[in-house]
C-alpha cells in the first residue's frame, strides 16, 4: 500500500513540477505559443527582442516538423499552438494539408520578397531562405567544370561525389524540385547517376561532406549554403581550413536558378492568441530579426532592403533563385522519397 501512496505522490509531484505555464494569467501578460522546427539557439535572442518590444511573452516548444504537426493535429481544437514554424517548405505544405493553418493576409509583410516564397492561398509565409548549392575541391576541380545540378550526373564524377543521406528533408526537397523541372523519369535517372558517382555511402551531415573534400576523399558535394558559411565564420581552425579547401557556387544560374528552401511560419487554425501570433510573424520581417537571420544563422533574409554585417554571406550574394513556388515542393516530396528508395540512395 505504501507503494501505491508513493506512486500517487510522485505522480502529483511530477505534474506540479512540469506543469505548463498558465494561459494568460490574472496579471494579463500577453503570450504567444510557438511550435518551432528551428532549433537554433540564436532564436532565443530574437524572441527576447520581440518580448522587449511588444511585451508579449514567448512560450516555445521545438521539435522535428513532422512531430510538431502530429502533436498539433492530435490536440485539435484545444491545441495551445499559436504559431507553427518549420524549416522546410514541404513541412509547411503538409501542415497546411492537415488543416492546421488559418489563412491570413500576409501581403503587407510579403511585398517585395518574391511571390515564390508565399503560400498562394495565404496559409503561411517565409521569412528566411536557404539555398541547396554545390561545392567542389579547389585543387582537383576547375572552375566552370560543373555549373548545374544535372552536371553531377555526368560520368566524369564517378567515385568523386560525397553527399548526405536521403533522410534529409533538404535532399528530398532538392529532388522534388528536379521532379518538377525534369519530370519523374529524368529526375530518377539523375538520382541513379549521382548514386553511381558516389565516392562513399552517405554518412554525416553537410559539414562532414566538406571535410571529405578537404581530406581528398571526394571532389564535389551538395550542401545548404549556411553550413559552409558556418565553417568559414567558425573559431575552429580545422573547420576554417576545411572550408578554405572548397569553392561554393549556386547551380543552374543560367537555367532554372538555384534551389531554395525556406524557414516559414503560419498562424494555427485554433490559435488562442491570433493577434499575438500575427505580431510575432510580423516581427520576423522586422529589420532586427532579418539582420539576426543573416548574422547569426547565415540564412538569407527575405527582405533585400535590410543591411546586415556578415562578409561571408555577403560574398555569396546575389544569385538567381528558382522561381517556382516553394509550396510545390511539398506536393512532390513523396515522389522524391520513392525515387531515393528505388535508386538506393541511403
Amino acid at each position: 500500500m505504501k507503494f501505491v501512496k508513493f506512486l500517487a505522490l510522485a505522480a502529483t509531484a511530477g505534474l506540479a513540477a512540469c506543469a505548463q505555464p498558465a494561459e494568460d494569467g490574472a496579471e494579463e501578460t500577453r503570450v504567444v505559443n510557438v511550435y518551432s522546427a528551428r532549433h537554433y539557439s540564436s532564436d532565443a535572442a530574437i524572441y527576447a527582442a520581440f518580448t522587449e518590444q511588444t511585451g508579449i511573452e514567448v512560450n516555445l516548444v521545438s521539435a522535428n516538423g513532422d512531430q510538431l504537426i502530429e502533436r498539433v493535429r492530435a490536440d485539435g481544437e484545444r491545441s495551445p499552438a499559436d504559431v507553427i514554424i518549420t524549416v522546410d517548405a514541404a513541412r509547411l505544405h503538409r501542415a497546411e494539408q492537415a488543416g492546421l493553418f488559418a489563412a491570413s493576409d500576409y501581403s503587407d509583410l510579403a511585398t517585395g520578397i518574391g511571390t515564390n516564397l508565399v503560400d498562394p492561398e495565404g496559409y503561411w509565409v517565409s521569412f528566411a531562405k536557404r539555398s541547396r548549392v554545390v561545392a567542389y575541391s579547389n585543387t582537383r576541380v576547375q572552375p566552370g567544370e560543373i555549373t548545374t545540378y544535372s552536371d553531377l550526373a555526368d560520368p566524369r564524377w564517378e567515385g568523386r561525389i560525397c553527399v548526405r543521406g536521403s533522410g534529409s528533408p533538404y535532399n528530398q526537397s532538392l529532388l522534388a524540385s528536379l521532379v518538377i523541372h525534369l519530370g519523374e523519369e529524368e529526375a530518377q535517372a539523375w538520382a541513379q547517376a549521382v548514386v553511381d558517382n558516389m565516392a562513399r555511402e552517405p554518412q554525416g551531415g553537410d559539414r562532414t561532406q566538406i571535410n571529405g573534400i578537404a581530406a581528398g576523399e571526394c571532389d564535389v558535394t551538395i550542401l545548404n549554403h549556411y553550413y559552409y558559411a558556418m565553417m568559414v565564420n567558425s573559431d575552429d581552425p580545422a573547420a576554417q581550413a576545411a572550408a578554405a579547401a572548397v569553392t561554393l557556387f549556386f547551380p543552374n544560374q543560367d537555367t532554372t536558378g538555384a534551389h531554395v528552401n525556406v524557414s516559414g511560419a503560419g498562424i494555427a487554425v485554433n490559435a488562442p492568441h491570433p493577434e499575438e501570433a500575427r505580431a510575432l510573424i510580423a516581427f520576423f520581417f522586422s529589420d532586427d530579426a532579418q539582420r539576426a537571420f543573416a548574422e547569426m544563422t547565415n540564412e538569407i533574409p527575405v527582405r533585400t532592403d535590410v543591411s546586415w554585417d556578415n562578409p561571408t554571406l555577403a560574398a555569396m550574394l546575389p544569385f538567381n533563385e528558382d522561381a517556382m513556388n516553394v509550396s510545390e515542393l511539398g506536393d512532390n516530396n513523396e515522389t522524391a522519397q520513392r525515387i531515393f528508395d528505388r535508386v538506393g540512395w541511403q
Binding site: 513540477a17 512540469c18 506543469a19 516548444v61 512531430q67 481544437e77 503538409r94 543521406g165 551531415g205 571529405g212
Partner: protein, 536 residues
C-alpha cells in the same frame, strides 16, 4: 493467505495494481498497433518491400549482432573482474564502469565519426590506416561501447551472489580458473547476461540518431522515413509492428535462457565467493581491461567534444536544463523501480494476466521513442475526445486541459518506453529468492512482512536499485519522446546537446553532453554507496 509451497507474493490488491500499471505502460504500444491495424494507407509498404526493406532488415541484424556481441563480451568480462577479483582501483571502477551508459549513443557517434573521418585526427595520425567508424558495424560498436553497462550491471550482481560451490568443485576436479569459470560461473550467469543482451539489442534497434548519422539504414530509419517522407503515420506504425515482433522473439529467447537456469542454486545456500587477489602484471592487465571500454565509450568521445569546445562559445540555459533532466529522470526512476519491483512480485503469482501485462509493458523498449510518443499522443487525445461531449454539454466548449505537453505525458511515455529496463533487473533479482528459501523462513515462523524486509530486500536491493538507475540514465539521454511531448520552454540536456550536434556543431554540443554523465554521477554514487553498505 499464503498457500504452502507457493512463493511469497504481494497482497492481491497491490498485485492487481501492479498488473494495471504494467498495462498502462503497454498502452502506447498497443495504441500504435491499433493505428497500424485499423487505419488505411496507400501502397507505400509495398513499394518499400520492393526497394529498401531487405537492406533495412539486414542492417538491423548487423547492428544488433555487433552491439549485442560487443556488449556481451565487455559486460561479462568486467562484471566478473569486479565481482570476483580484487585489484587496485576495483572499488571505484565498480561504479565508474556504469558511466558510459549516460553517454547518448548519438553523441559517441558524432564524436567518433568526427575523429575517424577522412582528414580527421585519427585518420591523419595513422596515415589513413584507421577505419572510418560508420555503417552498421560502426553503429553496432557505438552501441556496444555505451550500452555494455546493461550486461555489466546484471552480470556483476549475479557473479557476486553466485554460490561458489560449483566453481570450487570444478577446481577440485582439476579445472583451471578459466575453465572453471567457463563451465560453472558463466552458465549460471547466463540469465543475467541474456537479460542485458536483450536490452542492448532492442535499444540499438530502436535508435534513430546514431544510425542515421553513421549511415546505417536500420528499420528505425525506414520507419521514420515512412513518416517524414511519405507522411504516413500508419505506415510508420506498421513498420514498428515489425520491431515489436522482433522484441517478442528476443525477449522470448531471453525467457528461455532464464527458465533453463532455474534449477541452479537450488539449495538456497548463499556462500559469498572469495575474491581472487590480483597482483603485479595481472592486476595491471585487469585495470587495462576495465579502462579500455571506459576510454572508448566515454573518455575519448567526450574528450574530443571538450577539445572542440575550446573554440566555441558555451551554450546557455544549461542550469535550467540540468534541473529539468534531473527532475524528469528522478521521478521516472523512482516510479520505474517501484513498477519493476511490483510487477516482478506480481509475476511470481504466475497468473496469465500478470505475465501477459508484464511482457506487454516490456515491448515499449522495442519501438523508437518517436513512435512511443505517437502512442502516448493517441491515448491522451483519445481521453480528451472522450471527455469532450459531456464537457461540451456543460460548458459549450471542448475540454480545455491539454494533456499532451505536460510532465505527466512525458513520464507516461518514459515508463512505457523503459519499463523493460526496470522489470528485467527486478525480475532477475527476485529469481534468486527460491520457494525453498521462503519455505524455510516460514517454517521458522517469519511473518510475510519480516520475510520481505529481512530476507527478500537484502537479496533484491541491488537489482531494484539497478533498475531505477538504468531508467534514470535512460531518461537523461532520451530525446525523441522528450522533444515532441515536452511542455513549453522545457529544454533538457539531451535536447540542447542534440540541437547542436545535429548541425554538426560539436563544440557547442560538448558541455551539455558532458553534463549528462555528470548529472548521472550523483545518483550513481548514492547507489554505489548504498550497495556497498549492503555488501557488508
Amino acid at each position: 493467505m499464503d498457500k504452502a509451497g507457493s512463493p511469497s507474493r504481494l497482497p492481491g490488491q497491490t498485485s492487481g495494481l501492479a498488473v494495471l500499471a504494467a498495462l498502462v505502460c503497454a498502452a502506447p504500444v498497443l495504441a500504435v498497433a491499433w493505428i497500424a491495424l485499423t487505419r488505411d494507407s496507400g501502397d507505400y509498404l509495398q513499394h518499400l518491400a520492393q526497394t529498401r526493406l531487405p537492406v533495412y532488415l539486414s542492417t538491423s541484424a548487423l547492428v544488433a549482432l555487433v552491439a549485442g556481441g560487443g556488449a556481451g563480451l565487455i559486460g561479462t568480462a568486467l562484471g566478473w573482474l569486479i565481482a570476483r577479483t580484487e585489484f587496485w582501483g576495483r572499488r571505484t571502477l565498480s561504479w565508474v564502469l556504469i558511466l558510459p551508459l549516460a553517454v547518448p549513443a548519438y553523441v559517441a557517434a558524432y564524436a567518433w565519426l568526427d575523429l575517424s573521418q577522412a582528414g580527421g585526427p585519427l585518420d591523419a595520425f595513422t596515415g589513413g590506416a584507421f577505419p572510418t567508424i560508420r555503417g552498421g558495424g560502426g553503429a553496432g560498436m557505438m552501441f556496444a561501447l555505451v550500452l555494455y553497462p546493461y550486461v555489466y550491471l546484471l552480470a556483476r550482481d549475479t557473479f557476486a551472489s553466485q554460490s561458489v560451490d560449483a566453481y570450487n568443485a570444478a577446481r577440485t576436479l582439476g579445472a583451471g580458473p578459466l575453465t572453471a569459470f567457463w563451465r560453472t560461473s558463466l552458465p549460471m550467469a547466463r540469465p543475467a547476461v541474456a537479460a542485458g543482451l536483450a536490452l542492448v539489442a532492442m535499444e540499438s534497434l530502436a535508435d534513430y540518431g546514431t544510425v542515421s548519422h553513421l549511415g546505417a539504414p536500420t528499420l528505425s530509419i525506414g520507419l521514420i522515413r515512412a513518416w517524414s517522407g511519405a507522411g504516413s503515420l500508419v505506415d510508420a506504425a506498421r513498420l514498428s509492428l515489425v520491431l515489436v515482433f522482433i522484441a517478442i522473439v528476443v525477449f522470448g529467447l531471453e525467457r528461455a535462457q532464464r527458465s533453463r537456469a532455474r534449477s541452479v542454486n537450488g539449495s538456497g545456500r548463499h556462500k559469498p565467493a572469495p575474491r581472487l587477489y590480483l597482483r603485479g602484471g595481472t592486476a595491471l592487465a585487469a585495470l587495462l581491461v576495465c579502462l579500455t571500454p571506459l576510454a572508448l565509450g566515454m573518455i575519448i568521445p567526450l574528450g574530443r567534444l571538450v577539445w572542440l569546445a575550446l573554440h566555441t562559445e558555451t551554450a546557455t540555459g544549461l542550469a535550467a536544463a540540468s534541473f529539468h533532466s534531473l527532475t524528469l529522470a528522478g521521478i521516472t526512476a523512482l516510479l520505474a523501480a517501484a513498477l519493476g519491483l511490483a510487477t516482478a512480485y506480481a509475476l511470481r503469482s504466475r497468473t496469465a494476466i500478470a505475465t501477459l501485462a508484464t511482457r506487454a509493458a516490456g515491448l515499449g523498449y522495442a519501438v523508437p521513442g518517436a513512435v512511443a510518443a505517437v502512442g502516448v499522443i493517441a491515448i491522451l487525445s483519445g481521453i480528451q475526445a472522450l471527455v469532450d461531449p459531456s464537457w461540451r454539454a456543460m460548458t459549450g466548449e471542448v475540454f480545455p486541459i491539454v494533456l499532451t505537453g505536460t510532465g505527466a505525458a512525458l513520464v507516461f511515455a518514459y515508463l512505457s518506453r523503459f519499463a523493460a529496463a526496470a522489470i528485467s533487473p527486478a525480475e532477475t533479482a527476485l529469481a534468486r529468492i527460491t520457494p525453498s528459501l521462503d519455505g524455510a523462513a516460514r517454517t521458522l515462523g517469519a511473518t510475510r512482512r519480516r520475510r520481505v524486509w529481512h530476507i527478500h530486500w537484502p537479496l533484491i536491493a541491488a537489482g531494484v536499485t539497478s533498475a531505477g538507475l538504468l531508467v534514470f540514465v535512460e531518461v537523461l539521454k532520451e530525446l525523441p519522446a522528450t522533444m515532441i511531448l515536452r511542455p513549453f520552454n522545457y529544454d533538457t540536456l539531451a535536447i540542447i546537446a542534440h540541437n547542436f550536434a545535429s548541425d554538426e556543431r560539436l563544440g557547442e554540443a560538448a558541455l551539455p553532453s558532458l553534463l549528462i554523465p555528470l548529472v548521472a554521477l550523483l545518483p550513481m554514487i548514492f547507489v554505489a554507496r548504498y550497495l556497498s553498505r549492503q555488501d557488508r
